[in-house]
Amino acid sequence: MAEALPAGISARQLNEALTRFRKIVGDSWVFSGEKARSYHDPYPVADDTQSHRASAAVAPASTEEVQQIAKIANDLRIPLWVVSRGKNFAYGGAAPVLAGSVVLDLSRMNRILEVSEKFGYALVEPGVSYFDLYNYIQEKKLKLWLDVPDPGWGSVMGNALDHGVGYTPYGDHFGMQCGMEVVLATGEVVRTGMGAMPGSNAWQLFKYGFGPYVDGIFSQSNFGIVTKMGIWLMPEPPGYRPYMITFPREEDIEQVVEIVRPLKLGNVIQNGATIRSLVLDAAIFSTKSQYFSGKGPIPDSAARQIMADHDIGMWNFCGALYGPPPVTDALWAATRDAFSAIPGAKFYFPEDRRKSPDILLHRAETMRGVPKLTEFNFLNWNGGGGHVGFSPVSPSTGEDAIKQYRMVSGRVREAGFDYMGLMAIGFKELHHVTVIVYDQNDRDERRRLDELFRTMVREAAAEGYGEYRTHIHYMDTIAGTYGWNDNALMKMNQKIKDALDPNGILSAGKSGIWPRHLRGGKP
C-alpha cells in the first residue's frame, strides 16, 4: 500500500528529505515503506487506511542530529511528528495527526545523564523509559522511587510532556519536571530555568530561573523539540503501607469523592488517589466471556458475580501511606475513620488479600513506582485489543463525580460498551478517565466508538467539563471546546506557533494547533 505523502509535498521532495536525513543519522535509522508500518496507530479509530499514517520515520541519536534534521525539514518544508518513544498508545501511539508526516523518533536518545540521590532528581533524554530509569536506580541501589504511569514502557519525558499522571505523592508528572533543553524548529538550542545561566548547578533544582516560565509551552504542544528534561524523584520513604477500600454501590462514588477531597487537600491522602470502577479492575485479571456471552454491556447479575469472585466493590479506592510508622498509623486512623461513614465500605491491606492475582497486590507495586505492563490486560476484556481514553476534568466534588459517572457510563453502555472508568483526584481537581475498549477490527464498533466519543465531548463541554488529553483523532474536537472569548487561547497559541516555527514543520495539528499554511480558517 502506498504511504500518504505530506500535504503539498511531492514524492521527489520527500525522497530528497529522506536522502538528506540518511546522511545525518545513517541509512539504518531512516524508515520508509514497510519499515514505517510500526509507526501507525495500533488502535485506529478512523475508518480509512490513510488517516494519521506516517510516510516515514527518522531516528536521531543526539541533539546535534535533531538540529540538522530540523534544518533540512525547514529547507524542504517537511512536516515532522515528534515522539519520545511513541508509546502513548491510548492516544495514537507514534502516529501523527497529519497524514504523511515524518515521525521524528527520539527513542535512540536514551541516555540517563544524571541521577542525584542527594536532591532526588534525574536528567534524562526522551528515549529513557520508566523501565530504564527504574533498572538504573535498582542497579545503583539508590534510595529513590519513581512515579510511574500504568504502562512502564513509555518515556519518562514524553509522559510528563503529555501531562501524564502516576500514583505516588509525585503523581503530577509535569509538576515534577524541572529544567529542559529544547531544540527550536529553526535549529537553535535553548535551556530553560536555571539552565539558561552558564555554570549554574541548580538546573534540576529550581524551575523558574529568571523571567517568564516557558516550560509549559513545550508540553502538549508543537513549539519545540525537548531533548533533555529534569524530573524530580521521591526519596525512598521510611515506611510504605498500601491499602484498598471497596464500596458496594454505584451511587457511593458521590460520597467517596466528598470524603476524599478534604483528606487530599489536607495531605492525609498523600498520593495520587484513584477510585476505580468494577469492570476496569476485573478486566486486569479476567475476561468478559467468563461472565457474559451476550452482546452489549454486562448485566447487573454478572457485575455481582465479579464482585464476589474478586472480592472487590463497585468502586475500589487504592491509596498508600508513606512515611515513618507513627505518621502512617495516624494517617490511616484518620482515613479509615472518614470512609467508615459509607455503609458497606471494606478495608484491606495486602496481607488481607490471599488470592493471586489481586488488584491491591498489583496496585501496591504501582503505588511505590514499580513500572509494569499488567494494566494492559484490560485490553483483553472483550478480545478486541483497541482502547481509547476519554478524560474530562472537573472539580473534586461528589456532585460532579456522580453527574459525570451517570453521563459517561450511560452513554458508554448505550453504545454497547462496558463502563471502565476511574476517578483520579490529583490535588484539587478530579480527572474522570474512562477507557473504552473496542474491537479494532470491527468496523461497526469503531463507528459506534467514534459517535460515542464525539457525543461525550459535546455533552461534557456543555456542562463545563473539558478533556485534559486526547487521541490524535480528536485533537481539533477537544481544542474546539476551549474556545472562551472567541478562541482567544488558540489564537495566542497560533501566534506563538508562527513565531517559533515559521515554516510549520513541527507536529502539525498537535492539540489542535496547526501551522499557518494548514490552518484553513481554523478555528
Partner: protein, 107 residues
C-alpha cells in the same frame, strides 16, 4: 547554533552516570527479557501470557515454551502488532535484535 558539546561534557565530568540504557549486542534471551518479558513471562498478571492462554490454549500461553513459532512469523507480529499487542519500532527493537529474538523464540 549554540554549542552543546561542552554542556554534555560537563555533565559527564560531574555526574559520571551517562550511559546508553540499551546494551549493544544482547543475546536472544536478553532481548526477550528487555522487550517481551513484561507481558510474556510466566504468571497470571502477564497480558500476553493471559491472552494467549485464553485464545490459543494453556499449552500455547508461554512463548518461551513453544516450538511452533517460525522466526518469520515472530518478526511479522513484532513489527505489525496483533490485536492488543502494539508493534515495536525498528529504532528501538532494531532489525538485528529482532532477528536474534526471532531465532531465540523460533528455535
Amino acid at each position: 547554533m549554540k554549542p552543546i558539546v561542552p554542556i554534555v561534557s560537563t555533565l559527564l565530568l560531574t555526574c559520571g552516570v551517562m550511559r546508553p540504557a540499551i546494551a549493544a549486542e544482547p543475546s536472544g534471551k536478553e532481548v526477550f527479557q528487555q522487550y517481551c518479558s513484561h507481558c510474556h513471562s510466566p504468571g497470571d498478571d502477564q497480558p500476553g501470557t493471559l491472552q494467549l492462554g485464553k485464545t490459543r490454549g494453556k499449552d500455547k500461553a508461554l512463548l518461551t515454551a513453544r516450538t511452533d513459532l517460525p522466526p518469520a512469523y515472530i518478526t511479522l507480529i513484532v513489527r505489525n502488532g496483533l490485536r492488543a499487542m502494539p508493534p515495536f519500532a525498528p529504532s528501538d527493537l532494531t532489525d538485528a535484535k529482532l532477528e536474534t529474538l526471532a531465532q531465540y523464540l523460533g528455535r
